[in-house]
Every structure is written in structure tokens, then in C-alpha cells.
């Protein structure tokens, strides 16, 4: 190659309308005979039995100051499936996720437009703390509180703050709820020995599962996950991903991930966002194997991101 020749310019065709795949009753998107972009190493997962819509995002615009970070996005969130939002940095996916439990309101200067409903009710008319108990969130960095494991998981539960101290009497309901949440998070066997241990002494993967248990303790309807495995090693990641798939029957799950392979492994429906706009939404088979939009194809095949 002539070193003086400029590198080839890549142009990605711009097409404004998002492509929303028509809903299919059953099965993945493997029926189309067109050449697949990706080859699956794993067999496609069966879809969950009952799928019902939990939240609906309609024409939502979100801004920080004058900067519109999310532009006119509409999506459904269903229980029984995992919705994964993928996209490059700055695509607005995390902001959209945080707006689902009104966490964007903490930042001054945030503005919004459009409607988000939970079971038919506009979330902005619900009491905010109530909403956040029904729609809980797990963050990118594990953030267990400086308390014992038990107190962490029971945090959202008890109405009266417990007294600090080694052994204190707790109601059997709270104990049951905590044990169940730990089981659902797949952490119980590892910590059952001493629940009074400080949560900060757990490993990274265990801390993240503790955060998931904590989020599940109050039996939420929707679980939001913001890149939960980005700080973890592959084994912890695998544990958590299996967890997510197991949980989807009982909780609607929305996961934002930077990692295409993770979305690949975990998601039932995928929403690809770019620079705040929803580019494509469909089942994971459709989006990964036969993306309709050029930009989606470019992202998935690694042309940018």
C-alpha cells in the first residue's frame, strides 16, 4: 500500500426512521433465508411462556440542560423477556434506563417530554419512592452499603430502621424475604454461613449479586440493570447472566450493555440506539442475524462503537 494514500473513507448511510419489527407470536427470527451477519455459537433460547407488557415508553425525549440526550424513543418493556439496549457510548441508553425509575430527576437541569407508563399508569403521577420500589435498579459498580449482608438485602424491606448491632431480633417475614431474595440471586449458598458479615468483604461478583438480591427483595415488577457485569470477571459475568435469564419469568428485565456478546447471550429483544435515537428494535435473532438498518449492521459487525 502506498503510505501516502489516504485511508478509505467509510460512509454509513443515514436513514432516519427506526425500524420496528412487527411482533411475531412465537419462535426466533431464524426463518428468513437471507445471509446472517453473525453466527450463533449458542443455541437460541426458548421464549418464556407468559409475556405481558409492563412498561411502555412513548415518544420520550430527555435532555440535560440544552442537550437532548434521548430523542423520540418508543419501546415496550415486557415481563417474561429480557430487553437489552445496546449502542455506543453517548447513545443515551443509560439515560433512558435511568428515566424509567425517575432517577434522572436527581440531576438538576434535566428535562423530559413524552410518556412512560407502568401497568398503564404514567410514572410521573405515581409517588416517586413507590415507583422506585416497583422498578429497581442495579448499577455498574457494585455499591453494597457499609452494613451486614442481611441489612443490605433487607434495606428496602423494613419500615423501621433496624438497630445496629450483632444479633438483633427481626421479624420472620423479613428473614424469609431476605433468604428468598438471596436464593433468587444465587448468592444464598455462598453467604448462608454468616449473614452478619460486612457486605464490603465480599468479592466483586458476590457484591454485584448482593446488589441484585437487594433489588429483588421488595419483589419489584421491573428490574433495571446498568452494565452490571462490566466491572466483573468472566466467571462472575456468566453467573449473573444465567441469573438474568432465570429471573425474566418473574420480573421484567431491562439491561443496558456495552458488550455486544453479552446482549447476544442474554437478550430476547434488542433495542439499538445511536446518538439518542432508536435505530432498530426487534428480537435478538432479527437484530443480530438480519439487521434491517445499515447502521445496525455496521455496529454489530464492529464498524464503529
Amino acid at each position: 500500500m502506498d503510505p501516502l494514500m489516504p485511508p478509505p473513507v467509510r460512509r454509513i448511510a443515514v436513514d432516519r426512521d427506526p425500524y420496528i419489527a412487527p411482533p411475531r407470536a412465537t419462535g426466533n427470527g431464524n426463518s428468513a433465508p437471507a445471509a446472517a451477519v453473525t453466527t450463533r455459537l449458542l443455541a437460541p433460547r426458548p421464549v418464556a411462556a407468559n409475556v405481558r407488557e409492563r412498561m411502555r415508553i412513548e415518544s420520550v425525549w430527555l435532555a440535560y440542560g440544552d442537550n437532548w440526550v434521548v430523542r423520540d424513543v418508543s419501546l415496550p418493556v415486557r415481563q417474561g423477556e429480557v430487553l437489552s439496549m445496546i449502542g455506543a457510548s453517548g447513545s443515551g441508553k443509560t439515560t433512558l434506563l435511568r428515566s424509567l425509575n425517575r432517577l434522572t430527576e436527581i440531576t438538576a437541569g434535566a428535562a423530559r417530554s413524552g410518556q412512560i407508563t407502568l401497568d398503564g399508569q404514567d410514572i410521573h403521577e405515581l409517588e416517586v419512592n413507590d415507583l422506585r420500589r416497583r422498578v429497581t435498579m442495579v448499577f455498574q459498580q457494585p455499591n453494597p452499603f457499609p452494613m451486614s449482608i442481611f441489612d443490605n438485602v433487607a434495606y428496602a424491606l423494613s419500615e423501621r430502621p433496624g438497630r445496629g448491632g450483632r444479633r438483633r431480633r427481626r421479624s420472620p417475614q423479613i428473614e424469609r424475604a431476605v433468604t428468598e431474595a438471596l436464593h433468587r440471586a444465587g448468592l444464598y449458598d455462598e453467604v448462608a454461613g454468616d449473614l452478619e458479615r460486612s457486605a464490603l468483604r465480599l468479592s466483586g461478583g458476590q457484591q454485584q449479586r448482593l446488589c441484585i438480591a437487594r433489588a429483588l427483595a421488595a419483589e419489584p415488577e421491573v428490574l433495571l440493570l446498568d452494565e452490571p457485569c462490566s466491572a466483573l470477571d468472566p466467571i462472575s459475568t456468566e453467573t449473573i447472566e444465567n441469573l438474568i435469564v432465570e429471573l425474566r419469568e418473574s420480573v421484567a428485565i431491562v439491561i443496558v450493555t456495552h458488550n455486544l456478546q453479552q446482549a447476544f447471550r442474554v437478550a430476547d429483544h434488542v433495542a439499538f440506539m445511536h446518538l439518542g435515537e432508536l435505530v432498530e428494535y426487534g428480537t435478538s435473532g432479527q437484530v443480530f442475524d438480519h439487521p434491517v438498518k445499515e447502521r445496525t449492521r455496521a455496529y454489530i459487525s464492529g464498524a464503529f462503537g
Binding site: F145, S148, P161, L200
Partner: protein, 340 residues
Amino acid sequence: MDRHPLTPEPPRGRKRRWATARTDQRVELTLGALAVAALVLIGAMLVTVLIKAWPSFSHNGLSWFGPGGDIETQFRAMAQNKALPGHSILYFRAWPLIWATVLTTGSAVLIALLVSTLAAIFLTEFAPMRVRQVLDPVIRLLAGVPSVIYGLIGILVIAPYLDDHLIGTARRESVSYVVQLNGADVMTASLVLTVMILPIMVAITAGALASVPASWREGSLALGANRWRTIWRVSLRTARPAIVAATVLATARALGEAVMLAMLGGGRSFAPNLLDGLTALFEPVRPLAAAIFQNSEGLTIAPLGHTVYAIGAVLLVSAAMLSLAGWAAKQQFNRYGLRG
């Protein structure tokens, strides 16, 4: 050790600019000696005070701490070298002083703890930006204001106000056979003491609350806890070591406060009688440190000197125990990972 031929040799004599290993040893020894000297000095202080105090304790035994007579009379007897009838010249019963200290320091620290925690929460969480910007330097200024100025304000403003408006004639007469009431009393002293230790407690607590990691607060909010719950269960819990340290500091300061309490406590060493009801608030007090301050003239007179040093010894031991308590509390908090 062989030196590389091109590295310069440390110059000798007056031009020496950096030290060799041998000078370093000498420096280390000198500094170590300094440390030992400081330790010896501090140890000497402890020992001397205790030695000078011993006669007073040995003569009175444990009832040194008990009640029994008027302190002023006892001091006067020692100053004039005329023992009180039936007692030795070193006779002393410090209970009024101790009770005064417990009342003033205890009430000041308790009230200040509550108020400073609430105020710190207000400052870090709820106060608008401009209020915070004004209050921060003001609080830091107040933390550094000398106690004599607080005493001045107290004695020129608060005491007369109390005297004129809150102490009625009836009250005065009810205790006039024992003590004269004026505006300088345990209530004034405690109030001003509270105001004096507030700024440092607020500053430390607010600093600790502000350094609670944002991820914990966000995490708590995302679980559906409202802002107050988040503050109470996460932020305050994280700030607990700081609050304990602030309390220990404030208690040490309150215990050692001599001048302001001497100005505002009233003219005599009296143990307020709680059975007097509300009138007890208006009775004069003289805590331990203030007693030392008021009687410092007579240190050369042997019995008086011994007694004053005995009071000093009590204060020293309390200060040491406070330090220990602070250290113990710090160990406790390490359990839940509230450390680096």
C-alpha cells in the same frame, strides 16, 4: 559500596550539600532524642501533677469526690492556714465541682450532638447553595472565636437578660437562704457552652456527610428510600465515626473550658439541687476547670496548691480517658468497613 566514578562525591566541609549515611544516623538519633525528650516532658507533667495532687487525695480518701460542706469555706480555710474545726487542713469535698461539671458538660454535649447532627444534615442536604456558601465560613469563624469573647457576650447580654426577665422575686426568695441568684447560672453557662462547641461539631459532621460516596446515596434512592431515609440509614451511618470523633473533641473542649464558665457560672461553687425544680436551672455553678482558674492565685500555699493540683489531676485523667474512648470507638467502626 562502590560509587560510580561519574557521580559526584558529597563535598566535605562547609560546602556539604547532602548527607551521607553517617550524618543520617546522627540526624535520626537527634530526632529520636527529641521525641524521647518530648515524651519525658509530657510524662513529667503527668507525674508532677499527680505527685502534687497526692496529699489531697490521701487525706480525703474517696470522699474527696463526695459532698460535704461549702467549697468556698474550705478554700478559705486553706488559704488562711486555719483548719476547719474537726477536719484536717486538707479537708476538701469536691462534689459541687464535679456535679457542676457533669451538668454543664453533659447537657452541652448532649444538646450539641443533637443540634449539630441536624444542622449538618441541613447544611449538606437541604440548604440552598447560597445559604451554604455564607454559613460555611461563618461556622469556621465561630469555631475559632476565643472563649473569652463568648464569656463577654454571655455576661454582658445574656446574664442580665435572664436576671431581669426570667428570674422572678418568688424564685429568688425560695432559695435566698442558701444562695443568691443572678443571671450567671448553670443554664447560661450550659447554653453558651453548647453554642461554643457547636461549630466544630457541625464542621466535622458536615464534612463527613459530604464525603459519603454518591454511589451509596444513588443506590439507596434507586431502591425506593426517600431522601430522609437515605440520609438516616446510609449517610449518617457512614458518618458515625466522624460524629463520635467530633463528640469526643467537643467533650474535651467543654471539660477544659475554664474562663468562660468562670465568667458565666456564677460567683460560687454550688451544686444545683435538682429537687428545686426549675429553679435549679438558675443556681450558680463552678465546674472543675473554672475552679482551678479562680483559685490559681493561691498555688504557692501548700494545702491550697495540693487541692488545686488534685482537681487538675482529675481533669487530666478525664482527658486521657476521653482519648481512650475515642480510640476504642474508632476500632469499633472498622468492623463494617468504614475505613479505607
